[in-house]
Symmetry: D2
Amino acid sequence: MAEGSDKAEFPLAERRLRLGVVGGGQGSFIGKVHARGARLSNRWDVVAGALSSRPQVAKESGRAWLLADDRIYTDYRVMAEREAARPDGIDAVAITTPNNSHHAIAVAFMEKGIDVISDKPLTTTLDDALDLVRRQKETGLVFGVTYAYAASAMVRQARQMIREGALGKLQQVHVEYLQEWALTPPKDAGAGAQWRVDPSIVGPTFTTGDIGTHCHHLGAFVCGRPVTAVRAEFHTLGPPKALEDTAFMHVRYEGDIPGTIMISQVAPGAHCGLRIRAFGDKASLEWNQEEPELLHFRRFGEPARILTRGEGAGIGVHAARFVHMPRGHPEALSDAWGNLYEEFAIAVEARRLGRTLPEGLLEYPTVEDGALGVKFIEAALASSQSSGAWADCTLQF
Amino acid sequence: MAEGSDKAEFPLAERRLRLGVVGGGQGSFIGKVHARGARLSNRWDVVAGALSSRPQVAKESGRAWLLADDRIYTDYRVMAEREAARPDGIDAVAITTPNNSHHAIAVAFMEKGIDVISDKPLTTTLDDALDLVRRQKETGLVFGVTYAYAASAMVRQARQMIREGALGKLQQVHVEYLQEWALTPPKDAGAGAQWRVDPSIVGPTFTTGDIGTHCHHLGAFVCGRPVTAVRAEFHTLGPPKALEDTAFMHVRYEGDIPGTIMISQVAPGAHCGLRIRAFGDKASLEWNQEEPELLHFRRFGEPARILTRGEGAGIGVHAARFVHMPRGHPEALSDAWGNLYEEFAIAVEARRLGRTLPEGLLEYPTVEDGALGVKFIEAALASSQSSGAWADCTLQF
Amino acid sequence: MAEGSDKAEFPLAERRLRLGVVGGGQGSFIGKVHARGARLSNRWDVVAGALSSRPQVAKESGRAWLLADDRIYTDYRVMAEREAARPDGIDAVAITTPNNSHHAIAVAFMEKGIDVISDKPLTTTLDDALDLVRRQKETGLVFGVTYAYAASAMVRQARQMIREGALGKLQQVHVEYLQEWALTPPKDAGAGAQWRVDPSIVGPTFTTGDIGTHCHHLGAFVCGRPVTAVRAEFHTLGPPKALEDTAFMHVRYEGDIPGTIMISQVAPGAHCGLRIRAFGDKASLEWNQEEPELLHFRRFGEPARILTRGEGAGIGVHAARFVHMPRGHPEALSDAWGNLYEEFAIAVEARRLGRTLPEGLLEYPTVEDGALGVKFIEAALASSQSSGAWADCTLQF
Amino acid sequence: MAEGSDKAEFPLAERRLRLGVVGGGQGSFIGKVHARGARLSNRWDVVAGALSSRPQVAKESGRAWLLADDRIYTDYRVMAEREAARPDGIDAVAITTPNNSHHAIAVAFMEKGIDVISDKPLTTTLDDALDLVRRQKETGLVFGVTYAYAASAMVRQARQMIREGALGKLQQVHVEYLQEWALTPPKDAGAGAQWRVDPSIVGPTFTTGDIGTHCHHLGAFVCGRPVTAVRAEFHTLGPPKALEDTAFMHVRYEGDIPGTIMISQVAPGAHCGLRIRAFGDKASLEWNQEEPELLHFRRFGEPARILTRGEGAGIGVHAARFVHMPRGHPEALSDAWGNLYEEFAIAVEARRLGRTLPEGLLEYPTVEDGALGVKFIEAALASSQSSGAWADCTLQF
């Protein structure tokens, strides 16, 4: 456990970068969240958008975001083309559309040499995901995926503590994510709820892709080792739908470390109940995203400790980088998105300037992380279809 | 959900009953806890004991408990014989010894017509458990098993609420029990720790029998329906030992309701982390035994509610029976043991007086519940030995 | 802060002591609580009682408690006389009646050489309180007062830590006790509520005497120094009544350490909200009686710590004496009463046997503590009647 | 209590407004916080700044903020002049300097017709405060004061609930704010700590002006009625300094409703412990700024409820306006600052466009609120200097 804080500031920006957004029009939730994170980071101006494919919605949404009229698009391909042609064109695009369009949109912008920030799950098929991995390797473009919870300062702290041995030998890891919103029948919920349970849009799973991937990423990120295998049991407990809304899983992390993942979107009373508990032979860590400022650290045979975001008091360099306000002045999910967009900006600027960043400086999720998430989805689905047999979750890049 | 309280007092006692205790000598933990519950209930005097098979320990322990010298025994068979012969002999025996002796001790006292209160797990083999079930049926003796957490007032409240439909249609149930004490290698821990990992004493499992059975009972009790099947994955993560110290399970409750059980005794920072979460299609309940006064009740689309032990404020008759102090004057595990011993006393007195009690008045765990626990242990073990195949948990009585 | 636990067991009992109870009949709350504590300690048999002055209530209550018919009294004077005359007479009396009778009852039993355990506040006038102090000194009888919260293991732990310097230099202390029950107009509440607001029974204050005295005692006990002065503002905010139901106070502890006391019995949502926060120049402690197992210990510039009742993990000898169940198996208010009655028993037995106990072994509240509470009541009242002028709270014994 | 949500969106912006900042250079904390709020609101571009009076610091800070070189100033008077002269000059200035400069800076910008957003306390003397009130009245300029905690969605919810009678008749209000940072001797702390205890800069109080004013504003804002009188006891408990670092107060709210305020900046373990508890005769509300998403609502005789930020589930229109992410996706202090800057922007735009806003739409703190805070500081100081006599806190505007 790092004693004291040795806050290593990120490099200063040369200029504010220009971000375009695809998706995020009226009725969308996640597009606005991306834009808030970008603005909060003070590294980006949101200057262009294909916020909707419906012209009227695109225009109204764009104006609500205070975009210039000539940078409000209805077709992402047109946007990619025109922005690439402008001297003040966007530096990166944020893809905030439903899952099945991520691949094509990413390809369109990558082909124009524009860096990509994509929502998760990365794609609806592993082939598409691997295609993006390959394209990223070939182009060297920045490709970030918005597993935003992992950009919370105290998640970074947990990761650093585990890497530095604060738990002793890691022995078991439990991640859960419970929500209630899918108790509302899709037909009575908004458009955002409907596409999420439509296999033609969302891909082969509902809850596993939506929030299971967050558990998968968070567990691997915090523990610093990938999930190697999963066995899963899928359930559809809530209103009838084609896909699972609940799943219980056993997993293995590299080094044969066992764990569980439990997800449900029909758990009344649960709002955004993402929680990780990691146990070593000396101590444990627990983090709950609804109380993101607190990291419970419990050593065997000692009083429980609560680490809080801020400088000093046991906070290491990775969390300290994201201290925008002192301890007790709570930061939360907007700030985590800001952290993520700050890292994206540093990466994008470095690529544009040909600057090499210190090893380990940035920890944002990459296209490989996105592809591992898609592999996890397919493995969990396969396992659930074969009575819970173990399914491989690994990818070689 | 029962509105208001209609506290139905238990029948008054005719006299204080006489309890004998087997096990519980110096160094034992659970024997003292039984005795505290008995005394707290004001329904019992602890008058006799075979607190240890070692004469010196038996004598010193008995004197520490203020037993009369002639009622301090070293052999439970002698105790059964002599107590049965006394006009003021014990009304019931509490068996607080290691698992493998429960059956023989219970038989010895049942053969003398003495009611039995046994610790869990009931026995180390299903045959023994079923033998006790058969003997209880034949004799009509009272046979209680001390799943004491289930005697917490707010567990009774949860059970009543689910029975009365407060959750809507029950859909998933999760129970976990995490502890840390087995991180200490058995050789460095006390005698109480050593026998618990010795298969010749404890039976075929460690953690599943010790705390898994509590999860099994609590889930079934709160939800009012038995566990029908289990698939289990056993791990030995802590100091080397012959048996599992951690297990992850999927279960089914009657009506094909899915759930999970997660147990570990090598989870640093966890003391006695028994927690149940039950989700219906309308609401959920959550209870954590380390905060036993609180029952979290969360209806979909409404503010979360916290019910607290006491009268009124939504507390039903079953919990209200166990209100010894007003709301906010916290009761905890000693009180739960007192509740349990109060129920045992009512049952024992009723049997002795030939009195019929109202249906559903008492909810203490019976020998059948104990046998179901043993069946669960065997099923979980069998599943873990066959790659997590589903194993049947049901018994027909 | 004591590292590790060096549990020093109390001396074993020679025999179970005999307790008589005055007050506590049907409808009473506190009498039953005393009796539960006595039984839980396994140091006492409750053998006699003047549970009510109404013969029918006395008889029914006595039988409910399983007292022998000839030891059910309706007049405490008769009880004192007859019990003193019996060879198996009571060793001590517990006074659980309304305030204005404490003095006379205590005198009646002291005159017979019987040790006294009295509820708080000790008396309704300072003269009466000082008379009891004088009588106790003259007789050498044991005289305990049931400030029971202070017998919670973690309160003892807090006291030991402050004495040993864990906070650095003590600088400020805040105690509050909020309840809601007096929102019910006295006429609609039970008899127990009515006498508490009747000046002819309860004395010159309602809330200050009822729960303010708990704050006063707890602050002084935990910090190890008396309250020297108070300034108070009394309010009657709830249903009309002759006395205050709310008070805000500033206090001074010995050494000119400032603090506050805040009490109200008309605070909706508060059940038994007694909380103490003590701040030094290095660290702070916080204890809330509704979560009695937890002691929050926060050092400046370090992660917050939570100490929990149990052995090891920083728990000192005073709290360790009261470990009946391991950490995480929650004890609460019944157990605190048991602790208190265990200490009373040790004191009573020592007096009877002429045994000298180690200095500092017992920490139960004495008649002097009771008298200081009465002085505090009078001082707070006087202050509130003189626009909040400082009033002296000290007594010389 | 408003059932359901009828989210009334704020009017859309015509354009992004231009903000200048005075103060906030390297080493400053609060300037950055203002800027984050402005950016998060998407209603402002931060385009100019006199971030420091030291040229090198001003330049480096301005570049770190990505300001254009010609809009980085070292003298706020020059900034006011030049910005007023630019066609693209700032619409408003945020004053984030130490207290004693607020008045002069505000005057300089008001004289140029530029709207003002000032940190608290408004000024160091009541005369200066009243001068700003007068100037604002004369000019009609927008003048906001950044009591930012009051812009938390759940504080708005609490205010709406009290106004709508959710508590019944309001009876008592308690506000506290505890911090630990001033335990570090000023000489060892940063510049930001030093000026805060220097009477020539900070004015006649330290803690009362710094965090006491937050308590004063929050209590009045939530309860919808001003503080009318205060009696205070000041203490300097921490490292030696000329001013108080701790104060205990009794207050009266309009309608003779009593309350308390407790503040300390030398309370180890407390980070930003601002908490309000308001009790009526039917129910209470509690909000703690370190858990800003939760509003505890407790009705007498009912289970406690926890309202959470989000739509539906009892959330009214005022809180719903500030729902940027769904329930459970936590917002915190950055978001509150964003809310505040959103309101400021709406007010500034409306003034510039001559648009009349619906009554009660905006609830940001005004120059009058700021002046009341200064009056409160002076009253508390006067009371503490006269043995805690009641001092008037009212102002007539």
